[in-house]
Symmetry: C2
Subunit: 212 residues, 2 copies
DNA sequence: TAGATTGTTAATCGATTAACAATC
DNA sequence: TAGATTGTTAATCGATTAACAATC
């Protein structure tokens, strides 16, 4: 593909690193100063080797016998993931799920700010969701440009998902979190993470059967 | 581990198979009778080899030159995943997210039925969410036993997640879908799928940065 | 110092892809 | 028949784990 500033990171590593961050944040709250690869491995059910390999992708250097400095680790990981206070996200779809996410406290806690909620149903226009007002899809592109929004959550029914994705991509959004049960086709330059709860449930169903 | 009836299936396979099911269901609605490994591979961005290997784990046999019979494929995959009409799930946590999921239409469409919604806040007791009433945590174990519930969705704040998981496990639930930003510790006999939207957003953040 | 832990290289393991005979 | 597709085995690729010297 195109030449990247960053070394190519395997996606299992990224997934684990975002788990490390959650864990490290909790340790920091508790006042812990140091964490070792063994601590992390035990807490997350991994091997020490895996943790150390993952850490080697970051620019965190550890100290023999003590491990990694918690605060520095947390800062470096947050920077690595591109997470910073006030990273803005918009939500498309103001149904039950879209509204719930707009009000979801964990987002703010994890550094995200909801930059707007949109719906194609003009009956919902201007209705309040927390401190936000539901906006029309016509204003989407303008909002994305003005506020320099890069991330969007798709919380619309499956049939509408592709059309919404197209609009978002055209408006310049760079990453989509897809909650709809639909496979999205997007240009290579746009990242998509699937988070389809109904699909997860099916996977769970299967996992349960496997261990019976 | 314990001896299983089923051959051990790699989890990437399970994840892909649940994607096949979504796709196949749509094809069936459209009246398609046959689907080939090439069709599936193209639709989901995989190689034909991968699709055929995955299919070989199922008990679907294909026909040279035509591929797989759509209806039979769909039925076999649904059975393989353990998904059947009316598979019951309970939701713990009647905050924004829990309520939204209780009302979420995609669940019913995908064969799941919400068997109850629970919250520890007695102020919410008996409040209506769609056709359900919010129940107290004290009744959880009874409901799980009577209705033979095997799956639960955890939609409570991170601090409460482990306690809720313990209660669910004790009540006899076999699979947990965790929406809380907390790492759950459960016995090996219980399956856990993580579906933490805030974490997914962070992963997305990172993915976006990678391709800049 | 002795012991614990990092950082990195090499070995292992498993998943994906390629290849191809069998089949319709 | 010729061509397309399955089903399976072998080759490749990449991720995980093990091992160990360096370090504090």
């Amino acid at each position: 593909m195109n030449n990247r500033r960053q070394k190519e990171i395997p996606s299992p590593v990224i997934r684990r690193v975002s788990k490390y961050l959650i864990h490290i944040e909790r340790l920091e709250e508790k006042g812990r100063k140091w964490v070792s690869s063994k601590d992390l491995a035990d807490a997350l059910g991994l091997t020490r080797s895996t943790v150390r390999m993952d850490v080697s992708y970051l620019r965190v250097s550890g100290v023999s016998k003590r491990g990694y400095a918690v605060e520095k680790f947390r800062k470096t990981v947050a920077k690595f993931l591109g997470v910073h206070k006030g990273c803005k996200v918009i939500i498309v779809g103001a149904g039950n799920l879209g509204r719930a996410l707009a009000l979801h406290k964990a987002f703010a806690q994890k550094g995200f700010k909801i930059g707007g909620i949109f719906d194609s149903d003009s009956g919902l226009l201007n209705e309040k969701v927390g401190s936000l007002r539901i906006r029309s899809m016509d204003t989407l592109s303008q909002v994305v440009r003005r506020q320099k929004i890069r991330l969007a959550i798709i919380a619309v029914p499956a049939q509408a998902a592709q059309e919404v994705a197209d609009k978002l991509v055209q408006a310049g959004v760079r990453g989509l979190l897809n909650l709809a049960c639909a496979d999205l086709i997007v240009p290579n330059s746009v990242a998509v993470i699937e988070s389809r709860i109904a699909m997860d449930l099916r996977e769970l169903c299967c996992a349960v059967r496997m261990r019976e």
